[in-house]
Assembly symmetry: C2
Homo-oligomer: 155 residues x 2
């Protein structure tokens, strides 16, 4: 990997532009970097000690915790490589579209002591994609209508 | 921010699914995590000690180094918040589309000793977007033709 001094690792996480949230085995938030403050609106002081329900919309909670317990039980997750795309909640109630990877933090015995999520806000990209898809469908509909007009509309 | 143990910061960077590359003030690679190995094809042993030209296509090099020197001189970068999208090179010669943020690593005196890049491979997404844009333009052209046919083609 090459060598970095210890402070550099901490700086890379504290100052990461990716919102970084670490929660313990029970899903209680232990760490919340500056980008997480910006993304979700809660300060670190407000977030640390709360459960992840702080940012999970109510309809997604049951599924989230089933997945979380399963990762803790099995020691496996596919979201180390694959991005998990989910809705999330800003402090002001706004709904966000986020994507995240997880990193499992294991102690020297191999036991998972915490799960970190590296989170990106993709709300803007999703809205652009939706607008593009909408335009595509509108054009396809126009074209179908136009074709129909040509076929049926000859005087 | 809450508290993490020192080993957790290192684990978060070493095991990050984002390719993480740290280069010193002269642009010599100091650190290259496992995801950087996967993304670019070079092992850490191959990359550390080389300059960033390792992954920069020739036509982009001059612009890259002008920007790099300017960041070192000014101590400022807008790519801490904004994503910089650029082409990059895989070891096998394939062209990648990457997006990255940078984190400036300053020592206790405030001097920038290194620059870290947190890099995502967006090749697949760019190809999807290009395909979608292509389909959109094709539909717009079809619709224009179809409209023209209707207007001009009445018997």
């Amino acid at each position: 990997m090459g060598e970095l001094e210890g402070w550099m690792y901490q700086r890379l996480v504290d100052d990461s532009p990716e919102a970084t949230v670490v929660a313990d085995a029970e899903g209680v938030i232990q760490y919340w970097n500056a980008s997480a403050e910006t993304l979700f609106g809660h300060s670190a002081a407000e977030a640390v000690g709360k459960t992840l329900d702080l940012i999970i919309p109510e309809p997604q909670r049951q599924r989230h915790w089933a997945g979380y317990r399963e990762v803790m039980r099995s020691g496996q997750t596919r979201y180390g490589r694959d991005l998990l795309a989910v809705p999330a909640l800003h402090k002001d109630g706004a709904r966000l579209s986020i994507e995240f990877h997880v990193v499992l933090l294991r102690d020297a015995t191999g036991r998972i002591t915490a799960i970190a999520a590296l989170i990106r806000d993709v709300t803007a990209r999703w809205e652009r994609d939706r607008a593009l898809q909408h335009r595509l469908r509108a054009l396809e509909a126009d074209l179908a209508t136009s074709g129909a007009t040509r076929e049926e509309g000859a005087p």
